[in-house]
Each structure stands twice: as structure tokens, then as C-alpha cells.
Symmetry: C2
Subunit: 128 residues, 2 copies
DNA sequence: CTTGACCTTCCACTTGCTGGAACCCTTATG
DNA sequence: CATAAGGGTTCCAGCAAGTGGAAGGTCAAG
């Protein structure tokens, strides 16, 4: 497979795949013409990374998960720890966003939103 | 005020304040020794930006909000539009994070988390 | 006089890509 | 055979929104 096929099958842009090679996730062989040549295993690995990324795992998380994935001896507890840590971060982000939501929607409700210059949103932001 | 005082009173790191000068939010005068010299107005502006940023407004949003803030003729509707757009983005982020949360906590629940190598989290990520 | 706390500038790095330029390779068509 | 389209390659730059650090100037106290 060339990079375009892998891009299509993994759902990742070709640029991203080259980037993932740069940072050492994959090491595809090269054809005589210099093109990257991917096998199923690498496609699989890229798809794995793509799914992990879409679940909010960082690149470094992916590195750990991949290592665990390829280590037949690893304990599921190690993986669970990473996932749990990730879940905690997700929870924190949700809490933050909810607080923002509350403040902002309160301000929006109070704002007349007409042509008059009086605006509680700016008033609030400007409070020293 | 020197930058340290402003940093303390605004809650922004000095580095960030210099950065905000770089991108044109403020133009503090300089003392003879080259130190930045801030007045209350600039402190106020920085605090305004800090609050807006903590509500999730981007730097570009802040630029618009500041312009509106300093324009006595502006209609509150303009401000409300920016805030509403922001709220929409917050909602979308919350929805995304909730979806991640659901998937991940489901996987975590299914994972034994012991020393055995069988792990549903990796199994799921590896599904081609 | 020296120490330590400030301040200055500038450059590099972060995260996770993305865009573009300039160029090479392959295949199909006029 | 020329050429054009549509792959591929490299490298360089940039995004947001700062953060870290080096190298150096300034100021007040002991």
C-alpha cells in the first residue's frame, strides 16, 4: 500500500501519517522509487492510534498504549491506569466547560441584545 | 506600576503580559531604565482579557470584545453574538467530551485491571 | 561592594498537526 | 512522443497561546 491507500483506510490524512513516522510510531519500508510502502500491520497500528487520539489520548498516551498493546506480557491494570487518568482529565474538562457555560449563558440571558449600548456581558468582564 | 505588580494584580504571568504587548493588546510606556510602566487603565484591560480568556474566548474574540468595550456606541447585540457563538462551541466541546467519557468509562468497567494480559480497552482500540 | 530580586531582549520549545513550495514518478490520452 | 493529471517525496513555515531559559541591565539593602 502507498500512503494514499493507508490514508483512506485508516481515516488519517497522509500528512498526519508522515508526521507519525517522524515521531517514530511507524517505520514503513521504501519502494525503489522512494515511496513509503505499508503493510497491514502498520495500517492497523495507525488505525489504533487514530482511535486512541479520537478518544482524547495524547500522543504520549498512544506511545504507552502501543507499547502495552505489543507487549504480550503486560497487565491490564497498566492500561486501565492510563485510561482512568484520561477519564479524570475528561471529567475535569467537562466540569470546567460546564462552569463556563453557566457563567456565559447567565450573561447572555441578561443581555438585551439590541442596538442599545448597555451590555451586562461587557460590564461583567470589565469588573475590576 | 512595573510588570511584576501588574502580574500580581491581574493574575496573569509577566510572560503573558509581555506576550499581550507583542500582539498589540497594550502599549505600556517605558521608564528611563527601559522598564514597562503600566497605569490603571492597562491593568484593567489586562484583567478584562484574563477574565474573557478564562471564559474560553479566544485571543481574537478578546480583540473584538475589547474593541466593543471601548466603543461607546456599540450595540449589545454585537457582544451577545460573540458570546452566543462561544457558548455554542462550549456546548459542542461538552458533547464531545461526554461521548469520550461514555466510551472510555465503559471500557474501563469491562477491564479487570489485574495482572492478566487480557484487556478489553486495548482489544477495542485494536479492532480493525 | 556585593547579593538578590527585579527587569530587559531574544530564541527555542510546546501539541498535533496543516499548508505550501518545489520537485520526482506513473499512467493515460491526444 | 509530449504532456497533463494525479500520485508521491522533501523541507520549511505556521497555527494557538503562551512557557522556559539564557544573557544581561537595574535597583535597593546590608
Amino acid at each position: 500500500m502507498n500512503i494514499g491507500d493507508v490514508a483512506e483506510r485508516s481515516g488519517l490524512p497522509a500528512k498526519t501519517i508522515r508526521y507519525y513516522e517522524d515521531i517514530g510510531f511507524i517505520k514503513p519500508r521504501r519502494s525503489l522509487n522512494g515511496y513509503r510502502h505499508f503493510d497491514e500491520k502498520e495500517l492497523h497500528k495507525l488505525a489504533f492510534i487514530g482511535r486512541a487520539r479520537s478518544l482524547g489520548f495524547t500522543i504520549e498516551d498512544c506511545r504507552s498504549l502501543l507499547a502495552l498493546y505489543e507487549d504480550k506480557e503486560r497487565a491490564s491494570a497498566d492500561v486501565k491506569d492510563i485510561a482512568k487518568q484520561n477519564l479524570k482529565e475528561i471529567d475535569a474538562k467537562i466540569a470546567d466547560l460546564k462552569a463556563m457555560h453557566a457563567t456565559l449563558s447567565h450573561l447572555i440571558d441578561e443581555c438585551a441584545g439590541d442596538h442599545r449600548p448597555d451590555c451586562p456581558i461587557l460590564k461583567n468582564l470589565g469588573q475590576t
